[in-house]
Amino acid sequence: MIAPYEENEILASQARQPPSAEHWFGTDNLGRDVFSRVILGSREILVLAGLGTLLAVICGTLFGLLTGYRGGWFDEVAMRTFDSLLALPALLLALLLLGTVGQSKYSVLIVLVIVYTPIVARVVRSVVLAVKPQGFVEAARLGGETQTRILLREIMPSVLPTLSVESALRFSYAIFLVASLGFLGVGVQPPSPNWGLMVKEARTFASLLPWALFFPAAAISIVVIGVNLMADGVKRVIGPEQAD
């Protein structure tokens, strides 16, 4: 709605133009309007990172609650699996998975979920372990409450503050990861207006068309710093004891 052109609309006669009243951020070497691509690219990066974080938080919470509460072999197997996933830095795990399962928007989404679920699960599990021995949980169990009810009504409220800090943090990392993957050219494929990918493509013409490089890079920086400050704010509001 805000974007004056389609993301991949090619205006062949207006290629390589500097920023002007008509093309606020100029046009790239193919004649695509950079402003429109930056605006529409925000949709992709935010939706991809947001959805990935949301799914990872849901899966991670489920795993964290169940492993922490039930313990036993399920806990053992899940935690060792997560350990082995965490033995690789996030970007490398993402690259390994994308390098083998094929590259598309959807595989990036799946990879985000696989990369972040173990981390969320671990954080949730540690809170559950701290809450589980307390009186009110014991009381609910002896009162004959079902496991689902205990988890949702008794334990979940203690998990929520930590979980919101963790979610905000994961979201900021997810944006970072999606942009970095775009720059590396792994995952989301051209002609998608992924900001990282736009930076990668614009590098070839950097001296000729600096605006095509500058605007997507600036957009990433602003969004990432903004989300970081937001995550930091969430952390401060919810309390320093949850900060670690």
Binding site: R80, T81, D83, S84, L85, A87, L88, P89, A90, L91, L92, L95, L96, L97, L98, G99, T100, V101, S172, F176, A179, S180, F183, L184, G185, V186, G196, V199, K200, R203, A206, S207, L213, A217, I220, S221, V224, I225, V227, N228, L229, D232, A243, D244
Partner: protein, 319 residues
């Protein structure tokens, strides 16, 4: 202490083994028929069968894994699909380059980051602390390819346009260059990595210092009339800096991820570029080897930090 080391070693071996199983499953089993990938879609059934026999793909999965692991441990990492060259020497060569870059980056970032963190922590909530905090929050947020490109713009193109001596924008160091020849090309990538690490190390050091300042022993030392300087240097910093070792180990994870991007920004011939090369060409054996080397490196860094921490802090050993 021996028991502590053995336990850590056992834990490390287990994690690396599990991760190797993961890497094996992801690269060998997930993508489907490796022979189809090597030979292409048009290959006849006969050729595929021969290839499968040759690579041992007709055997059950657990046997395949053990064979693969054995080969890996003995340094037989196979032949790269895309270049037809043995993988081991390529990966070792690139690893040397990546280590060199990582070392230079750590050497600049650790002292600087710790210093900034101490300054911020000792001046909690004063303007200087807020400045360091906001500054590091902004820098830690910027993707490495953005900071890298900015540095290139300023210190390479900018200085060149002014007619001053400038740093090269392309860091593709030749294979036989020695450290001194490579150094000018290392500066910009190392600075980029520094920006990421610096903020991270500074923030964690800061919270360590603030945490220690609140301890009762600091008040005791203050109240018994020790000069502030002595309290800080002899009491606070000694305890606050202990976790820094862990921080540096954790930040190797960041450093590894960061280096993948940075190496691609600067065309630096390290493991990160090799990994992207392997992905672009769908060169699975190469991808496997690069990943395994990285896993090992990361695990060893963590082990080193654990041991050092245990050595310096006897409380940990007794747990």
């Amino acid at each position: 202490m021996t028991r502590f080391i053995l336990r850590r070693l056992g834990f490390l071996t287990l994690t690396v083994l599990l991760t190797s199983l993961l890497v094996f499953l992801v690269t060998q089993w997930l993508p489907g028929d490796v022979c189809r990938i090597i030979l292409g879609r048009e290959a006849g059934q006969g050729a595929i069968e021969t290839c499968r026999l040759e690579l041992g793909l007709d055997q059950p999965l657990p046997i395949q894994y053990l064979n693969w692991l054995g080969d890996f441990l003995t340094g037989d990492w196979g032949i790269s699909f895309s270049t037809n060259l043995p993988i081991y020497p390529i990966v070792m060569d690139r690893m040397g380059n990546s280590l060199m870059l990582a070392l230079v980056a750590l050497l600049i970032s650790v002292p600087l980051g710790v210093a900034l963190g101490i300054i911020a922590g000792l001046n909690e909530n004063k303007p200087i602390d807020s400045t360091i905090n906001v500054g590091s929050l902004s820098v830690v947020g910027l993707p490495e390819f953005v900071t890298g490109l900015v540095l290139i713009q300023v210190f390479s193109f900018g200085l060149r346009d002014l007619g001053l001596p400038y740093f090269p924008a392309n860091s593709s160091i030749p294979p036989d260059a020695n450290f001194l020849e490579a150094l000018p090309m290392l500066i910009l990538p190392a600075l980029t990595a520094m920006l990421v690490l610096l903020a991270y190390i500074a923030r964690l050091t800061r919270s360590g210092v603030i945490e220690e300042l609140k301890q009762p022993y600091v008040r005791t030392a203050d109240l018994k009339g020790l000069p502030r300087r002595t309290v800080i240097v002899k009491h606070v910093l000694r305890n606050a800096l202990l976790p820094t070792i862990t921080i540096i180990a954790i930040s190797t994870g960041w450093l590894i991820s960061g280096l993948v991007v940075i190496e691609n920004v600067f065309n630096y011939p390290g493991l990160g570029r090799l990994m992207i090369f392997a992905i672009d060409r769908r060169d699975l054996p190469l991808l496997q080897a690069v990943t395994m080397v990285t896993v090992l490196g990361f695990a060893l860094a963590n082990l080193g930090a654990d041991l050092l921490y245990g050595l310096l802090n006897p409380r940990i050993r007794l747990e």
